[in-house]
């Protein structure tokens, strides 16, 4: 985990977030969302504190959190790579592009590389369906990607 992330967790006083939410179960998702807004992801401590606050099992909180694609469980890397797996990208080989990136960095979607450089996400659609398959790195859209092209792209980022 990158040092900045550790500092961020240490500094974050989640007390305020918890004070703003009651202890009924319907606060679960708003709590998770607010914590993620502050931390960029949901570390195990956060899940455990949410569970304590709401009197739930942390396994159930984790179950709910993993149901929604919006929640992340690893701190985002310095470069966030998102690979489209929508219909157009799928038929033009988006899956192979994702696999190639996965192999190149050595992580699966949802994870962050141990050096904190990259995080990898699968996304349903960017709306750039004319350019399949699409890869978005940070805020830049790269269209008509191939496995080879993405590998080069990542090498350029390192």
């Amino acid at each position: 985990m990158a040092t900045t992330q550790r500092t961020k967790i240490a500094k974050l006083d989640m007390t305020e977030i918890f004070e703003n939410h009651g202890r009924s179960r319907d606060n679960l998702i708003p709590l998770l969302q607010e914590i993620q807004e502050h931390l960029d992801y949901l570390p195990p401590e956060a899940i455990s504190r949410v569970a304590d606050h709401l009197g739930l099992s942390e396994n159930d909180v984790y179950g709910v959190a993993t149901f929604y694609a919006q929640f992340r469980f690893h701190p985002p890397g310095r470069h966030r790579i998102k690979v489209c797996q929508g219909t157009a990208c799928h038929v033009r080989g988006g899956g192979m592009v994702l696999d190639a990136i996965s192999r190149k960095i050595g992580i699966v979607p949802g994870e962050t590389s141990p050096d904190g450089n990259f995080s990898l996400e699968r996304v349903a659609c960017f709306g750039s369906c004319a350019l399949p398959p699409v890869v978005v790195v940070d805020d830049t859209v790269y269209g008509r990607m191939t496995a080879r092209k993405t590998e080069k792209l990542i090498e350029g980022l390192e």
């Binding site: 195990p44 401590e45 899940i47 455990s48 569970a51 009197g55 739930l56 099992s57 942390e58 396994n59 159930d60 909180v61 984790y62 179950g63 993993t66 149901f67 929604y68 469980f73």
Partner: protein, 844 residues
């Protein structure tokens, strides 16, 4: 409140308000299929098997979640419902290994192999310990169809065997959520949940923590409510369905919980809750521990006495005489030290014995780890100090409470226990006692309630009930107060026993406050898995000697589920190996010798390759090794090489591990100028391997799967039949057939080809020990002549094999094979590094 009237399939029925349509149907005597529904759980509506049609209601609501309403017209059967249920069932089965359900040979196979194979992964019913009790299987068999239109998707989740007492294989899970629901019902905050979503949804814990750290109390209710073989009791799983369930109670702590004792062939295998209710829950020790204590391999079996520093086993009468004589000589100076984990009757008789001998008597309480300050053992009575001062010269010891030093000051020591004590070799008389479920009696709980203990498990060796031992000693000593004919007479004589102090821990809620000892014995020494809960043990895994010499494991990987490739450095074997030969492996010096066919070898690099299917203890030990580990022994090449000659057209069949075994045969037979047709068989397409390798050394490769997911639907025999018909159509012939696989497969091939008059060879796999023709364990009958598979085989003329004899001999140690599985410390040492690695799961 007035009742609700409705009709189910035309039958009028009245139910209480709040009842569901499913309950109304059951009231009306109409059977509706269900899977996720359970009488002790609230409705969930996950499996969708219980769908019905309701007049005026759109769609097909699940009857389990639909409240009954006045005037409802419900139909539980119609062509649409049948078709939907069939499709639901198919969807469920596509995510659950199902090849046995659709296999055309199921009936024949199961009649020859009624017991499930002790596989690591249950890739089919025949490999599943839950086979006899599976709701999915029952429902699929009742439906009767072998026609599945969806592919099998094997999820390939890791086997979860790192936690104490339970094995989990989520590849069998159908997501009925019974486990999660029962966990929530009993414990409030479940230790598991449904995590992820869509096709990745599964039962799991937050951040994949081990259950030791996820809040699990190991009450086992999830195991007992799971409709599939996903969750299993590691100890009990391979014994098969319990043949008796008897209400009894737990003696292991003063809580004295009521339980249901499950027995198989007169042996306790598990204890379960009396009901799926919070109040009825059991702790890890109650649920899983009792069976492991009574089945411990260290149990005391025969009475023994010591004379002139030498111990002898003797008959009961001699031992009781020695005990009585010894005690008589020390009357007035006798101490009795026993455990609180005894029945009321036993304690009553001990008290009477103490009175009769004018001695001291103390009951040592059962405590958890926490209240014991470091270095201080169980609190013992002060009068023990009188041993040193000589005021007490004889002691009756009913547990492991005495230090060796103190025992030296005694003139006479009588041990009455079921497990060896530290001062065992200092005892003058040792009397083996029946433990726990092996003897009847009553207990009083800390809450004051009296509960009965059922005698349902056979005591090992000559061990006897403790109350009988005491009564007999009393008789030998002529103590009139100890004269009782029956146990009931003893029970009736107890008038004033006080309830024991409550247990200073909450083992049913907190797995880290379990009792640390049983009769003074460290429980984690008897049940090593308990050390995962911080229970002290004298066993130190770091003292295990890791072999530095031996045969290096160059490569190990799971080729397909449950089938492992091991490449081992064994240059002498590689230099001399010939097709058809085998090796005998021993993972460590203490391992069983286990034979495996050579699937490949390379004389240049000195390596041999084996395909090992996990089907029992030895194979599990081998596949649990890591790359770079050393095997204690590799003996080989053994057996006769296959006679490779030019025959013409040769058809080879390999099933399961036999796929690997036919590779060298195909290669050699092809090199000898034969036309080689290789047939490989797997239960399902995802279990096939080495297709390319075998195709490369064959003129033709054919595939058979038992579920029809690849190639021919069926086994190698169906393909052999097809090939024969094709060859005959072309005026050609098959000149030789070779089959390697399970006994059932080879037998089927043998029966098929017998009338063909084609020479057929099979590689026989009887139980084998030394592999050099000395022991005779691998004796087989070929054309009524005795042969040894190790030196005369492994290949024999299939048409001369006495298959019934082979099957019988292979099954000779079925029970011992099961018992060898979970009781060994070896498996637990394999387990602990993994648990330690997982830590709390926080990644910190």
């Amino acid at each position: 409140m007035s009742q609700i009237n409705l009709t189910i399939d035309g039958k009028s029925v009245a139910v209480e308000p709040g009842a569901t349509v499913l309950e109304a149907a059951r009231r009306a005597g109409v059977a509706v299929p269900t899977i996720c529904d359970h009488k002790d759980l609230s409705p969930y509506g996950a499996c969708r098997m219980c769908i019905v049609e309701i007049e005026g209601v759109r769609g097909f609501p699940t009857s389990c979640t639909t409240p009954a309403a006045e005037g409802m017209q419900v139909r539980t059967a119609s062509p649409e419902l049948e078709s939907l249920r069939k499709r639901t069932m198919e969807l469920m089965l596509s995510g659950h290994p199902n090849s046995c359900l659709v296999c055309p040979h199921r009936e024949a196979c199961e009649s020859m192999r009624p017991k499930a194979t002790k596989a690591g992964r249950s890739t089919r019913c025949g490999f599943c310990s839950n086979k006899e009790e599976c709701d999915i299987r029952t429902m699929a068999l009742e439906a009767g169809s072998r026609d599945l239109n969806l592919p099998t998707l094997y999820a390939a989740h890791n086997l979860e065997r790192g936690d104490p007492f339970m094995d989990r294989d989520y590849n069998l899970c159908i997501l009925c959520a019974r486990c999660w629901r029962i966990c929530e019902k009993i414990h409030g905050k479940p230790a598991i949940s449904i995590i992820n979503r869509g096709k990745d949804a599964r039962v799991g814990t937050a951040f994949h923590k081990s259950h030791v750290h996820s809040g699990c109390t190991f009450c086992g209710s999830c195991i007992d409510i799971c409709p599939t073989g996903t969750l299993t009791d590691r100890f009990a799983r391979w014994y098969g369905k319990p043949d008796a369930k008897t209400p009894s109670a737990c003696l292991l702590c003063p809580e004295g919980c009521a339980l249901i004792a499950q027995t198989h062939s007169g042996k306790l295998v598990a204890a379960t809750m009396t009901a799926f209710q919070s109040e009825a829950s059991l702790c890890a020790l109650g649920r899983f521990g009792m069976a492991q204590i009574v089945n411990a391999s260290t149990r005391l079996l025969r009475p023994a006495i010591r004379e002139n520093d030498e111990a002898f086993t003797v008959d009961w009468d001699t031992a009781l005489d020695s005990a009585a004589n010894g005690l008589k000589q020390h009357a007035g100076r006798v101490g009795i030290l026993i455990s609180a984990a005894t029945t009321r009757e036993e304690r009553h008789l001990y008290a009477r014995l103490a009175a009769g001998l004018n001695g001291r008597f103390a009951v040592v309480p059962t405590l958890p780890v926490d209240p014991l300050p470091a270095g201080q053992g169980t609190p013992l009575p002060e009068w023990l100090a009188d041993i040193q001062s000589g005021k007490i010269t004889a002691l009756i010891l009913g547990g492991d409470f005495l230090e060796r030093e103190l025992a030296r000051s005694l003139d006479f020591l009588l041990v009455i226990d079921g497990l060896p004590v530290r001062v065992q070799d200092q005892a003058d008389v040792v009397l083996p006692a029946a433990l726990l479920a092996e003897s009847a009696g009553t207990l009083r709980t800390a809450a004051g309630q009296i509960r009965s203990l059922a005698r349902i498990s056979r005591a090992p060796g000559q061990a006897k009930s403790e109350w009988e031992i005491l009564r007999d000693i009393g008789q030998k000593l002529d103590i009139a107060e100890m004269h009782f004919d029956t146990l009931q007479d003893v029970t009736a004589a107890i008038t004033d026993d006080a309830p024991p102090a409550s247990f200073p821990g909450r083992p049913r809620q907190d797995v880290f406050s379990l009792p640390a000892t049983y009769r003074g014995h460290l429980l984690a020494d008897i049940i090593p898995a308990l050390s995962a809960f911080g229970l002290p043990t004298t066993y130190d895994p770091s003292q295990e000697v890791q072999p530095t010499e031996g045969f290096e494991l160059l490569e190990i990987r799971e080729l397909v589920p449950n089938m492992h490739l091991l490449r081992i450095h064994a240059p002498q074997v590689a230099a001399h190996a010939k097709p058809g030969q085998f090796v005998i492996l021993m993972a460590r010096e203490t391992s069983e010798r286990a034979p495996f066919t050579l699937a490949d070898w390379d004389a240049a690099t000195g390596s041999i390759t084996l395909i090992i299917e996990e089907v029992g203890r030895s194979s599990r030990e081998l596949i649990s090794l890591s790359q770079g580990a050393r095997l204690a022994h590799v003996s080989g090449p053994l057996g006769q090489a296959f006679p490779v000659e030019r025959k013409g057209t040769v058809v080879l069949g390999g099933g399961c591990y036999g796929i690997g075994a036919i590779l060298p045969l195909a290669r050699a037979l092809k090199e000898a100028g034969n036309r080689v047709i290789s047939v490989i068989e797997g239960s399902s397409a995802y279990l096939l391997y080495w297709e390319d390798k075998i195709r490369a050394v064959s003129d033709e490769l054919r595939i058979a799967t038992k579920d029809g997911t690849r190639g021919t639907y069926g086994g190698v025999q169906e393909v052999f039949q097809e090939i024969r018909e094709r060859e005959e159509d072309q005026g050609a012939a098959i000149n030789m057939i070779v089959a390697v696989g399970c006994t059932f497969m080879m037998r089927m091939v043998s029966e098929l080809t017998k009338p063909w008059d084609v020479s057929t060879f099979v590689a026989l796999n009887p139980i084998m020990v030394d592999g050099t023709g000395m022991c005779g364990a691998c004796r087989v009958s070929i054309h009524d002549e005795t042969k040894f598979a190790c030196i005369d085989g492994p290949f024999f003329d299939a048409h001369g094999v006495d298959w019934d004899e082979l099957a019988c001999r292979r099954g000779a140690y079925a029970r011992e094979e099961v018992e060898a599985l979970p009781q060994t410390v070896d498996l637990n040492t394999l387990m602990f590094p993994e648990t330690a690695k997982q830590g709390c799961g926080c990644g910190g």
